[in-house]
Symmetry: C2
Subunit: 719 residues, 2 copies
């Protein structure tokens, strides 16, 4: 191994533990010390010669001010719990079922004007003259109902408890004042927050980097009154928490049309990221993004004026920040920080346009980890946790560089964790070494340009909506996680992109989702230009990989609109009397790794009898490949990421391209992966299991045999 | 047991086996002897004093005539296999992929006028001027195509091989002439067949009953060219095989609008019975039914004029006969014969309006049974088969009487089957005894009127479309089979019936199906009158049982339109970010029989937290009950019929009505059932397993304890 590199590491310092702070900074090669939620940095740390990060959550901790200016509280539309009329009159109490520590009804005139009452049995709005709001009781009374129809009220509620603060109170028994989130939409709020930020900068002369957590608006997180159903609605990518009468008024001025409460409530479904966005939603997101960038930039400029840098945390109140939007660079942020559990999150950070990309690794230095399991407390094994997380992230970092890594939390917790401390030292060293290889030139990739096609395209590259454990039910997050470390180029495109020529440089196109969802594409598949462009592209040699219900749409001959390419379709009921092709499973040497597997899906059928069935479950094809002109269609009835299935995905690409068993710089087992840096002449080989592993790699120097310890990284120099 | 009754039994006689015929007639108490496909009755049998049934399939065995009058061959619309244009020109060979021994293109002018070419990528018809038919090659050439769009041609084909005959040739290696089906739609065909029938009657003076097999049109059965995909499309209830240019011309005259080929082809889905019928389809079915009844009646009258009776077989070419239509009685048939594998088929026969209802029991006297397993040949066990089939049918016959039973096939096969012969003797005796109880008065039923709600209503009572093994993938056939022997009143209603007050006498409403299918109801759920009528009915005490995706429809707040009653809904993707209620499974004593079970269904969720979850699988509710006003909603995520689940269904009804553990005349184990005839004062108890069983029954005489041998029927006299 080369000489030890230093730097590129952010350490959470802790006052009262000055010696430990400086000792660990030395051991882990830190160049930056940060504070965390709940920790302070003492002068001894601040003045030790390290760069200093300080966290700022600009929209909370202003309770005195907001209590005097309550119309600046953040808001959201809510739908009352549904109620069925038994007669011709109905009274609905608005907040029934909601967590009243989080919400209160916005009773103002401009709020009530936005409310709507719906007969959900007919999908018709009840005219305003037929209902009224009884303020004292928080009741809406519908004066003329159809008996035995179901009614709901869309209303506007203030949010009186910032959700991250609320979560920590409820989950971790915090007891301080409930922090109220400020909406910076009004002039008075903007002036107040600007002054506050200015003052903060003055009071923190030793801070080099202000780390914003994040900007103004949290992802939506609506709580219920019942502990059996606390989480009513949450979506990391959704804009529900940005709304206010003022915002809607400004929207109308700018876009020339009005948004209604129902445009947000959408029959109670809201607009989760997992469903295809409507034109109105995209307009509203653009409108909000514009505001967040424009006011955000003022704050960033202010920070810069004090000679400090401004980084932004890519989580929590990140809504409207959109690091993959065209406006992101306008903020002027100096860095982007992402906390990562998974490889795709490392790619999400690495792929955004920013000067500095930094990863906050897991585990955080907390007694208890996410999901409630112990980390730095009795029963925890933080060194093993760190290895497992690093194992997920490492393969992504080999494909696309980031600039820095770091930790968060309470440093004192590592005092008696020598194994953890040694492991982090190793991780930091590995990270810096890999970074140095990237600095010399890109790693070798197969000559495959992979495009993932879904409704959001580039804007939702890599992530679906938040962390893996929040979106595991979608095949695409599994695909993305597999792709994050594969030696292929990846881009994310939407349906407009297809029409605008995005397939021109694409070798492999992936569409993976459930019928009607954002990932499959829903109504976007109505556009016959998209269909025929993909037919043409596949006919000319493109490889389509469809997972679960790709290109699914009702109303056409093929439920999977791309069925002619795949040779596979799915019966929605109307084909139940149509016979099914008999088939035998074909075996291709070296294609399906031992332990790989795809879950079967009901109602899948073979269309023209020409698909080669590579695997089946219960008589249903699960993996198939079908010729289409010079190209191919590959169908997978589902996809679950693990080492074996990740290799399966790669092997299917190699097989379809005629490269299976021939390509260089690939390990020959699913439990190991490698990356080759031609300029640095270094081959990095990883064991991705907690067992010993051996593998061989075809290189231009001939085959290289490697034996690896659990999770080990080895670096070999090639000639 | 009382004195042995005789009669009500139809025996298949066989010439050459006169002694056997008369011996078995005696043993089984037959009063009728019949011929079968492939058997003759000799004078010795014909003149032995028994009534004689003769089978007539009126539309086949006229090859000489049809070859001289080929335009009277039966026809069907077919869709060419799809093809993708690569340039601006496409040639499609029509019969590619079809079994050319079954089909030939109808090349006549009036046929080609009905053809349509579709761009299936856009769903648009290609104008007729842009394509032409090249007769010599059976090609349609599309002169102007959009590159990389998919095209199909709807065309009309003659059917040159009657499908039942074709099946027996191909499956059982028959080698005789291929019988060509005659379409009696034209005047010349009607005249010819009428004369033929007249002549037949003259030539068969000893025949008492002409058994029609059945009328004119077989259910659709389209074969493919490839043995791996022989069965392209089949549906026992579908009208595809009734079409012809003449029929469509007559339809237009009568209904004032034109049907196109696409009205039949429907993007290649056709119109399986399992999908909700369109208005056009219902019109066309009505039109065909009218013709079949009117010409059928002429033939029946002719038969009657010879002093013979006319029975109709409720299978094979039964299409257009529709024993549950309002016109059925107009035929003047004297009897209806149904072959039965299952209890619901016995109810299907029993429930139709006819003077005589007769069941053809299984196994048929054939060497090989349905599905290819041996029956009366090496390795077969016909006595056991008979017991299993009788076990299914018996419980239905206890609820609703039929008049006769009988067998079919080759009698010589029973020569060395004393066990089978004894068992049939027992069955015949049991049947006659049960029939005698019915004659004294109806069996006791619980005071529950059950209505099954689906798109077809009464017209498709009991059966979905054919036998159980053809429709096992639908929950409803399992429900129907369970209901067939339960002590409740059952009716089948459609959505118009609901609007017209059909719920007024209903205690329990069942809706069981997959989203969009005929059994769930599809677009019928758009009608808010239906929704609010069911809400009202349930609110006033009705018990709704929803299975799988009951009342499912996109576009509304609730995907299951009746979710407010059920307290359960299903997420189609838009609720994936909405939290799920935590629940614990509640146990109700005696409700769920040991061994009962319901398969879990993805995406099921609890709506208002008030549903009582009675069973779950993988964290998803599978059985739940929810209060709604004075009524209840019961949800089952699936239903598979067996003894335990049949009892589960009954128990859920009893529980919802407050009668669980209290009702009289029910066995206390799932493996046994009973029926009580108050007028006859007889309690019939059945063991429905192949093991010994014991059970207790609460009666007005107190508890009765019974021990039963495998499949045994016991009859107890009550005071």
């Amino acid at each position: 191994m080369t000489n030890k590199l230093k730097g590129s590491f952010t350490l959470p310092g802790e006052s009262g533990y000055e010696d430990l702070t400086l000792k660990m900074a030395q051991k882990w090669g830190a160049d930056v010390i940060r504070d965390s939620d709940g920790t302070q940095l003492s002068p001894e740390i601040l003045e030790a010669g390290y760069d200093i990060y300080s966290t700022v959550c600009i929209i909370r901790d202003h309770n005195d001010w907001i209590r005097k200016h309550p119309s600046n509280m953040q808001q959201t539309f809510l739908q009352s719990m549904p109620k069925i009329a038994e007669g011709d009159f109905l009274s609905i109490h608005l907040l029934d079922g909601y967590f009243t520590q989080q919400f209160e009804v916005n009773q103002s005139k401009e709020s009530v004007e936005l409310w709507q009452v719906f007969d959900r049995t007919t999908n018709m709005e009840v005219p305003k003259r037929l209902w009224n709001y009884e303020k004292e009781l928080d009741h809406v009374v519908i004066k003329t109902t159809e008996p035995f129809h179901e009614y709901t009220v869309n209303f506007l509620a203030y949010r009186k408890w910032e959700e991250i603060n609320m979560y920590n109170h409820v989950t971790n028994n915090w007891t301080s004042d409930h922090l109220i989130p400020v909406d910076p939409r009004s002039d008075e709020a903007q002036e107040y927050l600007y002054k506050w930020m200015d003052n903060w900068c003055k009071e923190h002369p030793l801070t080099n980097v202000v780390r914003f957590t994040s900007m103004f608006y949290n992802f939506v997180w609506i709580w219920g009154s019942d502990e059996r159903d606390r989480n009513l609605y949450t979506d990391w990518g959704s804009y529900d928490f940005t709304v206010s009468p003022l915002a809607l008024e400004q929207f109308k001025k700018q876009y020339g049309y009005e948004l209604t409460s129902e445009d947000f409530i959408n029959k109670g479904s809201n607009h989760p990221t997992h469903m295809p966005p409507t034109k109105k939603l995209l307009d509203y997101m653009d409108f909000t993004n514009q505001f967040v960038v424009s006011y955000g930039k003022k704050l960033v400029d202010l920070v810069h004026s004090y000679g400090k840098k401004a980084y932004v945390f890519y989580d929590d109140s990140w809504v409207g920040v959109e690091p993959y939007s065209k406006r992101f660079e306008e903020f002027g942020f100096d860095g982007l920080i992402k906390c990562v559990f998974s490889g795709y999150e490392a790619r999400l950070c690495a792929g955004a346009k920013a000067d500095t990309h930094e990863l906050r690794l897991h585990p955080y230095l907390f007694p208890t980890g996410l999901g409630g399991a112990p980390t730095f407390s009795e029963g925890g094994n933080p060194a093993r946790d760190a290895a497992v997380y690093w194992n997920r992230v490492r393969r992504a970092l080999l494909r696309e560089p980031v600039d820095r890594i770091g930790l968060g939390g309470y440093l004192h917790l590592v005092e008696d964790q020598p194994e953890f401390n040694d492991y982090i030292e190793k991780v930091a060293d590995e990270f810096r070494l890999i970074k140095s290889f990237h600095a010399e030139g890109k790693p070798y990739t197969l000559p495959y340009k992979v495009a993932v096609l879904h409704s959001w395209g580039h804007l939702r590259s890599w992530t679906l909506s938040g962390h893996f454990h929040e979106t595991y039910m979608h095949d695409l997050i599994h695909i993305n996680e597999a792709l994050a470390g594969l030696p292929v180029d990846v881009k994310f495109i939407n349906f407009d992109d297809v029409i605008n020529g995005a397939l021109d440089d694409v070798d492999i196109l992936i569409n993976a989702g459930r019928a009607g969802d954002a990932w499959s594409g829903g109504d976007n598949w109505e556009d016959d230009r998209v269909i025929s462009l993909i037919f043409r592209w596949a006919g000319e040699g493109g490889i389509l990989i469809g997972v679960n219900e790709p290109s699914a749409l009702n109303g056409y001959k093929n439920f999977l609109r791309l069925a002619p390419v795949l040779g596979i379709d799915i019966d929605r009921g109307s084909k139940v009397c149509h016979g099914r092709w008999q088939f035998t499973v074909e075996t291709v040497d070296g294609l399906i790794p031992e332990g790989a597997g795809v879950k079967g899906k009901d109602h899948v059928f073979i269309t023209d009898g020409k698909a080669h069935i590579l695997a089946e479950e219960g008589g249903l094809p699960t993996i198939s490949i079908h010729d289409f002109g010079k190209g191919k269609g590959i169908y997978l009835s589902s996809f679950q990421v693990n080492n074996e299935n990740t290799r399966l995905l790669l092997n299917l690409m190699l097989y379809a391209k005629g490269d299976l068993g021939k390509a260089l710089y690939l390990t020959d087992t699913a439990d190991t992966e490698c990356a080759y840096y031609p300029n640095a002449k270094r081959l990095v080989v990883m064991n991705e299991t907690d067992r010993d592993a051996e593998t061989s790699i075809k290189t231009s120097d001939g085959d290289i045999h490697v034996a690896l310890k659990p999770f080990e990284t080895q670096i070999h120099e090639l000639s």
